[in-house]
């Protein structure tokens, strides 16, 4: 029989009294549980509100871009800049043809030098090519002069309009402030765009026609006069001749466009959006016309990220598989913190490393004699897609590794045991069970790595080369040795020097919104993968 137990407790009050006790600790009328609850919910809400404010301000600053962009495009047409640019395109094409000849000559010179030819001999061999180049340049001089004339006239119209618009605003402000006299000093000119346009057309259309005709004639006779049979550049020059012939036939359509051009053809509003999305030029603070086309930046960001992922995914996922499935505990304890440590290296430090060591190393590598067989080697640019991509890969590996490792860890151990018990070896278990079962997690790890890479700023700003052009994909794989500019890098570079409220300022905000949306999309897709393909345990 059990003895009667005497229960000893600190609180000696009888049960009824202790259950109904009223002397709990209170602060501002709140119990301790409530205080804790409000404290933590306060923290959560602060975070949410800050995030909402960031989003709101981004959109508020960015929203004004499209109307302003539209105005800018309208003025481009009104002031006749568009008219002039038709002709400019023609002259730009001529300049690039000339540049082609120049490069051809340089190339051949290098080849002949490599073959051990003397300087005099090289000169005599290349003399016809050099003559062609000089004459071709000569043929364009007149057109260039005319273009300059047209440019200054159209730019003049635009400047007069801009100044008088600014004056109009200042005047209104002065009048509002009660300073009538000062206000009257500001000149306001109402520009008659119709008259100006008419003037432009009547002045320059005949001239342009004449200049084009002489240019075409000169080029034709030049091509006929150039004899390059049995030279080492015959093929190239023949190709050049064909290109120039085609170029000359294009003159008519340029004239047609200029003939048909009118200053008051309406610019639809959607163009302010489509020109931003599909525009291939990003030109700012130009005396002529600013262009805001996201394409070169987007492609820059994308190429750099793709290179980074191509490097980082095998490394990160492979390391995760190794550490999770193969490595001994000692190795795990060494490798895991080490890889995670890479994530905390400040990106500016990585950028320095990229410029001083990696970029230089890649360039020196391509200059090795034994690498000379690779077409395109040695490379000229030390800051390029591959340097930036490799550094970004370094930054993406830790997150890809960590999340993939987590995903593998979440695969029930029972799967692994079952696989081994059926006679699978380690490789079969990994490839048939572990990786498929954790695939959703691995994919979302890769997507998160992608998000990390595309949002990274400092490294790309320092080492991507910052050239605002679409890289030349005709170079094939060698495209990775070209410099690019990225969305993040550009925002960081231009934001300190823009005028608040200007078109460029707003353009940068729209760029930031685009980045924000891309990141959002990536995260969203990653979450879908995690949810949809979550392993059902049990």
């Amino acid at each position: 029989m059990p003895e009667t137990l005497e229960i000893k407790r600190l609180d000696q009050r009888p049960m009824t009294e202790s259950l109904l006790s009223k002397n709990k600790v209170k602060f501002l009328g709140l119990g301790s549980d409530e205080i804790i609850k409000y404290f933590f919910s306060g923290s959560a809400w602060t975070a949410i509100i800050v995030l909402a404010l960031i989003t709101f301000s981004l959109f508020r600053e960015g929203a004004g871009f499209f109307p302003q962009h539209h105005d800018s495009l309208k003025l481009y047409r009104l002031a006749g800049l568009e008219f002039v640019d038709y002709f400019r395109d023609q002259m730009t094409a001529q300049a690039s043809l000339s540049r082609y000849l120049n490069e051809l000559k340089l190339n051949k010179t290098l080849k002949l030098q490599a073959a051990g030819k003397g300087e005099a001999e090289i000169e005599s061999l290349l003399a016809p090519l050099e003559q062609l180049r000089l004459d071709f340049d000569q043929a364009g001089l007149e057109g260039q002069a005319l273009l300059d004339e047209m440019t200054s006239m159209a730019a003049g119209i635009k400047d007069r309009y801009t100044i008088s618009e600014e004056n109009r605003i200042s005047r209104k402000q002065l009048i509002d402030a009660g300073m009538k006299e000062e206000a009257d000093l500001l000149e306001i000119e109402d520009i008659d765009f119709a008259k100006e346009a008419e003037n432009l057309k009547t002045t320059f259309l005949p001239k342009q026609k004449e200049v084009s005709a002489t240019m075409a004639a000169k080029m034709k006779s030049l091509l006929a006069a150039t004899k390059v049979e049995n030279t080492i550049y015959e093929a190239e020059v023949n190709r050049f001749k064909a290109t120039v012939s085609k170029y000359i036939t294009g003159f008519d359509s340029v004239q047609m466009k200029m003939q048909d051009w009118t200053h008051d053809k309406p610019v639809p509003f959607y163009e302010s959006i489509t020109k931003f999305i599909t525009g291939t030029k990003w030109v700012t603070q130009s005396f002529w016309q600013d262009w805001y086309g996201i394409v070169p930046l987007f492609i820059g960001s994308l190429t750099v990220s793709i290179v980074a992922l191509i490097v980082a995914v095998p490394l990160g996922v492979g390391a995760a598989i190794y550490i999770n499935q193969v490595a001994s505990i000692q190795e795990q304890n060494f490798v895991k913190p080490f890889i995670e440590f890479v994530a905390v290296i400040p990106s500016v430090v990585l950028g320095f490393f990229g410029i001083a060591v990696l970029g230089e190393g890649i360039r020196v590598f391509t200059q090795w004699d034994m690498m000379a067989w690779v077409p395109g080697f040695p490379i000229a640019e030390r800051l390029n897609i591959i340097t930036a991509g490799l550094l970004l890969a370094l930054m993406a590996v830790p997150s890809i590794f960590t999340f993939s490792e987590d995903a593998l860890n979440n695969v029930p151990k029972a799967y692994k045991e079952a696989s081994f018990s059926l006679g699978a070896n380690r490789l079969q278990t990994i490839s048939r069970i572990m990786v498929p079962a954790s695939l959703s997690g691995i994919i979302s790890a890769i997507l998160l790595g992608f998000g990390r890479v595309i949002g990274e700023t400092m490294v790309v700003l320092l080492v991507a080369g910052n050239r605002l052009e679409i890289p030349d994909f005709s170079a094939g794989l060698m495209v990775i040795f070209q410099p690019v500019h990225t969305m993040t890098g550009l925002v960081a570079q231009e934001i300190p020097e823009v005028v608040k409220g200007s078109l460029q300022y707003r353009a940068l905000f729209v760029l930031a919104i685009a980045l924000f949306l891309i990141s959002l999309l990536i995260n969203y897709v990653a979450q879908i993968f995690v949810r949809k393909y979550k392993i059902s345990v049990g």
């Binding site: 029972a414 692994k416 059926l422 006679g423």
Partner: protein
């Protein structure tokens, strides 16, 4: 004790998890073509010993058989020359918690064959039917072989795991508490299956369920604190055990 030839012979085995000794000097002979049950309270080492038979313990870092031998059909399975993969093909295993892969029913069954590079559809189809029939599951799932295996009921999943194990045609099947997560009806079906399977396979089953050991096994081994206390014919263990500890456990006085 028995005239049946020996399938698994355990000789003076000591087993360690790191530095802690889990099995103390275990010796027994498991007869071929019969069902042997391992019973004993939790932590007594019965599962550990079972997992030695197909070297599943190799997957756990720091475990080792420090002394003694385990021979299967006369071969010391812990000697260096033994191919573990082959061993596991010959010694199949069914786990405590049913663990079908997150694949279709069909793919679960043929997994072991695909590992061996067998991809002939006709042959796989045959094996699937034979194994599912062997596991008394064919009639229930024959119309939905491409469904996800994880959508089956608990008992069906466990029988699927048995089908998966017999698809690679082992000679010995190890069962680690196969019914501990099943309801009585599913348990009954698995027990009927065990009765059927023993015609072809040697079966070693770990169980916490005394009645189950009594119902399905021919031999029973009782373990306590890492030691083999008694090993004998099942009816002898349950009716007339020679050790006091065995009797105490079986009659429910402890454990």
């Amino acid at each position: 004790m028995s005239n049946a030839p020996t399938a698994i012979e355990v000789e003076n085995v000591d087993f360690y998890y790191g530095n802690s000794k889990a099995l103390h000097d275990i010796s027994l002979k498991i007869p071929k073509g019969l069902v042997t049950a391992f019973i004993g309270p939790s932590g007594c080492g019965k599962s550990t010993l079972l997992r030695c038979f197909n070297r599943m313990n190799d997957l756990i870092d720091g475990t080792s058989v420090k002394s003694g031998k385990i021979k299967i059909h006369g071969v010391d399975i812990y000697s260096k020359e033994v191919d573990v993969i082959e061993l596991r093909k010959r010694v199949g295993m069914v786990f405590q918690k049913s663990n079908p892969f997150p694949k279709s029913i069909y793919e679960n069954i043929v997994y072991g064959l695909r590992l061996q590079g067998i991809n002939d559809k006709k042959m796989l189809d045959e094996v699937v039917e034979k194994s599912l029939r062997g596991a008394a599951l064919w009639d229930e799932v024959k119309d939905r072989l491409d469904d996800y295996a994880t959508g089956l009921s608990g008992g069906q999943m466990q029988r699927l795991c048995i089908a998966r194990a017999i698809a690679v045609e082992p000679e010995i099947i190890l069962m680690d508490e196969p019914c501990s997560a099943l309801d009585p009806i599913a348990t009954m079906k698995v027990e009927e299956l065990i009765d059927e399977l023993k015609k072809k396979y040697t079966i070693v089953i770990v169980t916490h369920n005394m009645q189950q050991a009594g119902r399905c096994s021919d031999f029973t081994a009782f373990y306590y604190l890492g030691k083999l206390i008694e090993f004998d014919r099942t009816e002898k263990i349950f009716t007339n055990p020679s050790k006091q500890q065995t009797e105490d456990y079986i009659t429910g006085r402890f454990g």
